[in-house]
Every structure is written in structure tokens, then in C-alpha cells.
Amino acid sequence: MKISRRDFLKGTATSLFLAGFNFPVLASTSKKKNLVVIMLRGGMDGITAVPVIGDKNLLKRRKKILIDNPIKLDTDFALHPKLNAFHKCWKENTGAIVHATSIPYTARSHFEGQNLMESGGRVPYQEKTGWLGRAMKIANHKGEGLALSLPMPLLLRGVPKNNNYYPSDGRLPREETLELLRSIYADSSEEELLDMMNFVKKRKNEQMMGMTSSYGKRKNGNLAMKAAEYLKKPDGPRVAVFEVNGFDTHAAQGGINGTHTKCLLEMDEIIENLKVYLKEAYKDTLILTVTEFGRTIAQNGGNGTEHGYGTALFMAGGLLKKSQVYSDWPGLKRKELYQGRDLNATIDARSVYASAMSTVFDLDFNRIQKDVFFGDQLQNLSDKLFKA
């Protein structure tokens, strides 16, 4: 029998109160699987992160911002040499990349693009919910989403009672005060507030155990540690969403120590801390990245790059079939580029997301395609990329 955490909470509110904060470990027949999505805002440059090996076009058009000494992944592709954590995943057969991919959006506006990468639609601002939220709703994963940001990102909207963790300054009040509030909510039958207070009281417990240091607690690396703690609990959330900003490097993109690298390192640190702190649960976890678009192949006059189209998508976790760069590589000759300037996208990134959710949420791919992605033409890549 599958018991969702939400049902559990509802059914046992009183006994939970009596038992304090320790949720009993649930005996569940099916293992809980986790999905983590890292949103890379600003347009992540797939060519900096995962350069293609020995392409003269690239050498010629990106002289000032090339990445030296990339790590060779296979005969065609290499990895940015500073992405140590991802490289470790790769070596352990739990890191993969889909290259020359993008959401189906080519108009190069951040705002429209970021809206679409979260909504999963084709028309900017048309959808008011996110692809992840819609799929969670179908899978009945209510109250199982965790955003490591404020406010709730569009990506998770569409399913009720998501949680977030983005710690504030200062200390929560005394246990007794929280308990007083909790009992007030219980007395006045404020079910929703009561649920929230149960979460808050758990948080309080952890704070008292000294697990939240004040410095840098909103840094993605630390948020990842926290997220891992929550995700690995059998009754914790199944979905977590991170945001990394700053990929929009129009100028001084820099090479190995540049601004783009800095942003990629933030992503790498999330992956690293998730992996380390998820421990065993990393096996049942899938981490994915999403960005609004890639960047131009050529550098501009300011040694940066402009908004482009195709890019790379990182994946990590034990639910991956194997380490691989999965790509239908379109080439970098001018006529092979999108509008003569951008890496083309040969795989709709939403195919990857739909396949991933089909795997993690145990949902039929066709149902996701129809009810989450509006019946758009998508490929089922589940068998190629993920463990059944």
C-alpha cells in the first residue's frame, strides 16, 4: 500500500501532537523517488559547460572565452574542468548530459523564456501553472514539493501545499510559544494553519539542534544540504526546486575563472551537496537542470555572448541509466546553426522532463504528454536515459 505523507498528516494529527516531532518511519512497499530541478536563470551556455572537442568553428569564433583543458568525456564532448562534483558523478555512472537541446522557444527574451521553461507551454505567460506542479498533481503528490526560494516558483505551481525553505534571519520563539500557537489553531479548527505549524515545529527542533548556521544559510550549497536532509526522509518531500541566477553574461563572460564559470560552480555545488547528504537516497534521486536558452556561438565585442537557442542539460543521480552525453549533434558550421548564430536544438528539452517525470512519478508518458505538455509532440526517452 502506498501512503502519501499528506494523507498521513491528516490522519494522525492528534497522535502526531502527542508523539512530539519524530515522525515514525513508514513502512512502504514502493521506494520513494525524488526529483530535483535546478533552474539556471539567464541563459546557460552549453558550449562553455560541455564543449565539443576539436571543432575549428568554435576555436575560431570564441578565442577570448574558450575553456582551457576541459575534461574529455567521450570522443566528441568534454566537460568544464571545474565541475568536479559532476565529474565525480560521471565517473560513478550517475552523471549524464543531453546536448543540443532546448525548450521550444527561439525569440531570445529572458522573461518569455523563463516563463516558458517553467510553464512548459509554447505561448509566453499563457499558462499560470508549471509543468512540474501539473505532473505532481496528476501523481497526487500534494504537499510534496519543496522550493529552495521565495516566493513559490511558477514551475511548482499547480499542486497545492508546497513547502519552501529559504531561512530568515533571527531565531524562532520558544517552544512553548509555538506550542501555544499550535493549540490555538487546533482549537479554532484552522486545519491549514495547523498543518503549517506542524512543519514549523519540526523546523524549530532542527534549529535547536544547531543545524542551521546563520552565515550563508541562503547560499545554494547550504540550501542543498538542507534539501537533502528533507528529501531523504521517507515522509519528506519528493520534489525540490533550486534557482541559480546570473548566467546572462553579455560581457566579460571570462574563461576558466569567469562569471559563467562562477554560476556553473554554484550548480555543481548543489549537485555535490545533494549527493553527499542524500547518502543512500541519492540512488533513488534524479537531478535535472533547466534554462531558458543557450548562448551564441560567437563571442561579442565585450567578450561575452548573446542570447541563443540550443544548450546542454545536466542530469545526475542514481535513477540515470548510465553516464553518457546524449545528443543528435547538429554541428557548428554556419549553415548548421540556428539562424546562422546559435547552436541548434535537436531534442525538445521537454521530452527529457516528461520522460524523467514518467520515471520518477511512475506516470504513463503519454498521460504526461497529454495533460502536462498539452499533447505536444514529444519523444519518450525514458528507456534511453533512465532506469525503469
Binding site: 505567460y125 499560470k128 511558477l154 513547502n163 510559544t177 565585442g301 561575452g304
Partner: protein, 481 residues
Amino acid sequence: MKNFFRKVAFGLKPDEKAPSDPLVWAQQQVESIPEFNWKGKHIYSEKEMRKYWITQRVEENTTLRKKYKNDPEGLRRAERKLEADTGKHLWPANELCIRHAEGLRGDHPVLAKLWYFWGNHFTISDTQTLGSYSTGAYQREFLRANMDKNFETMATEATLAWPMIMHLDNKDNIGPKSESAKQEWRRREKRPATLNENHARELMELHTISPEAGYTQEDVIELAKIMTGWRPDWSKRKDHGSDVGFEPDKHEPGKKRVLGKEYKKGRKAIKQAIKDLVNHPSCREFIATKLCRYLITDEPTPQMIAPVIKAWEQSDGFLPEVHKAAIKVAFEYNDKYRKFQNPENWWLTTINMSGSTYSYPVKEKLIDSHPLGIKPFGDISEQAWFLEDLGCHPYRQKQPNGFSDLEKDWLSTELIIRRIMFAKTAFHKFNTQDMLDDNIHEKIIRNNFDNPDKILKIVSKAKTNEEKHILLFNLPEVLKA
């Protein structure tokens, strides 16, 4: 009854005398638009604020990116400096003071609460640094200033306001058959003239008739064609910072048809189209529903909405009448329904009921004496930080549909923790005397609740004044008004 003061305003201050006729008190406030309560010297027009936007934009895009092309650290430093010089953080802090002084000082908090409603209805989402320079001024100049006029006036002015045209991309909405579309440079630079439907869609969906009206994608495209050419011109010195005007060479020629009605080409069509949209039955129903949702309950009933629609019809959408009708409905349903307050309105209620208004918003002289070139700190920057932390900064909406009016979207662990923490913060905005005054909570409670003894009994379970504060402002009776 006392709950009504929290429902349509921000509660009563500890020593404030309750108005004898709450309904009249509330309705009178929306009849005219008084001067701002904030007496600081920086109350600039949207156009004046745009100068800072232009400087920031042009400097960043032209000078800095070239100068520091091989120096990422230098670029970051120069960007920070430019932000301080153009008041990127000072201006929104200043605007927040103007905004919150309306709710907390003076005699028209009801008008303020409704102003906040319109700011969210005609949202400028936080793109292209508009939130830092323009959104506050836009909300004053195009929304508040039109709250004593017809909805049509507000809708027209908001639609053609520069920040709105910018954030909904109408600057990129160029007729594919326009004169401009035929120009050689478009072929050369591969930049064909295309429609951008974004603004047209939101004008219908979010600002006027809503999807309930049953318009089609074809209607959106046709309205977008009517809107082609309304944009600020681009120039090297001003980027897109010029005034919004009608550029005939970018306007799509030919007749257009929206919701079955035909419109001629040219500059007059947009105003006619807005006039028709605001007079569509779905528009008044949509706005009436949203007003009731904002003031009364997440799920307004047809009985609640009906009087507001009627007032709209009888007054041709005259906003003071529409507002009065909504206030009256809120009054009549006061005992039956409680509305979960969004974080900003809750925060202002907490400050107001505490009597901490002498220290929040900060004093005029503090803002006025802060020089450009130095990033604001301390009390000035704290105010913006509070709102960001509460998840509800009014110039930082992520989406064009603004912040949610629904309880479920504001109930999350993190946001409830914020309310607990911020009730504490509000307590520390007291002066020392009040912090030590053992009777302060009795004063607050007696003045703000019909059942003060019950509330007092609950709150007295807390040991310290600080804890009493935390309890009081997180009671269901305060979270929901």
C-alpha cells in the same frame, strides 16, 4: 464589527477612536484623492524616474561592457557603483515609504488598501529593472491618480504607460505588413517585423475581460495588430527610454476585428478597443469578483458581486462608486466571511495595531538626506528587505498576473515562519516605554476586537510582551480579517 477595520483597512491604532459609523467612514475615503501623507522631497513623476533608468541602462550596455570586457571582477564592481549612482535601491525604498505612509498615516487607509489592489491588478512585473526605477511612480501616477475617475481612464492610461508597454513587450509588436516591415535593414539583419501578442493577451486576460469572456486566439492577434506601433522609440542615447508614442510606420495597416467588432487602422483604434473592452459585461464581472476576492473571501458568491456590478453599470464604471459598493458588501458580510490577508497587508496591520507607526515607515529626513552614490543601508534598506522576505514586495512581482489573492498561495511553512518572526520585529519597533508597558496589549486588544476578553485570555498565556505580540498577530482573527 471591529474586524471591519482590518478587512478594509489596517485595524485601529491603540489610542485611535473607533469611527462611530464604520461604513460611512470607509466610503468617504474613496470619494476623492488627497495629497500624499508622505512629505519627503522625492515624489517624482514616472518620466523623471525614467532618466535614472536610462542612465543605468545606457551606461551598462555601452560603456561598462566594453571597458571591462576582460575584467569580470571590475565589471561587477562598476555595475554596483552605477546602481548606487542611479539610486537602484534608494528609489524603491523611497516609493515604499510613500506607499506605506498612505496606509499607516492620515485618514484614508481604505483608499490605500484599494490602491494596493490596483497596483497588483495592473502589475508591472520585475523585468528590465523597472521595479527599481519606475513601478512605484507608475502606481502613483497612472493608478492612484485615476482612482476618482472611470475605470476606462485608468485602463487606458495604464495600458499606454511606458512601464506597461515595456514589461509586456509591446515595443516589439510591429505590424508584419507595416512600412517598417519592408525596410531593407530587417532583411539584412534578419530581424523581421512580427507581432508580439503578449500585451494584447494580458490586456484582455488580466486587465479587462478575463478568459470568461470567451475570446479566441484570433481575437488576441487582432487586438495585437491594433496595438502595433505604440512604443517608445529606441535611440543610442536613451535606449528604450523615450516616451511611448504611436509610430504609424510600425502600425499594421487594414481593418481589424476583435470580438466581432471592426476597428479602422490608425492611432484612434486602441482607445476605442479599450473602451469596448471595459464596457464588456465580462469586464465588470471580472473586476467586481476580484474586488470581492481581495476584500471578502477567496470564493465570492454571485450575491456579493451583484451590487458591485450594479454600481458599475449605474455609474459607467466610475471607480469611487464601484469602490463604495464593494466596501458596502464587505461591511454586510463582515461577520460571515474572513479574508486571509496577504503578507504586505498583514505587515501593515501589525504595525498599525501595534502603534509602531511613529518608526515605520522611516522618517522623511532619513530618506531625503541619503545621497545618491551610496547604497542605502540600515532602516532604509530594511523596509524593502522585510517585504522581499515576506514574499510580497509590491514592485517585484514575478509574473504579469501579480501576486495571488488566494490563501492557499500564501500558506507555506516559510511564509508562516516569516509572520512569526516579523510579529517579533514589529514589537521591537516599539519605543522602550511601550515594550515595558504591561498594559499595551490590553489597549491594542480592547480597541480592535469585539470579544476582547477571549482574545486577552489567549494572549495572556504568553509570558513576555514580545511573546504576546507574536501570539496576537498570528491569531486566526488577525491573519484573516
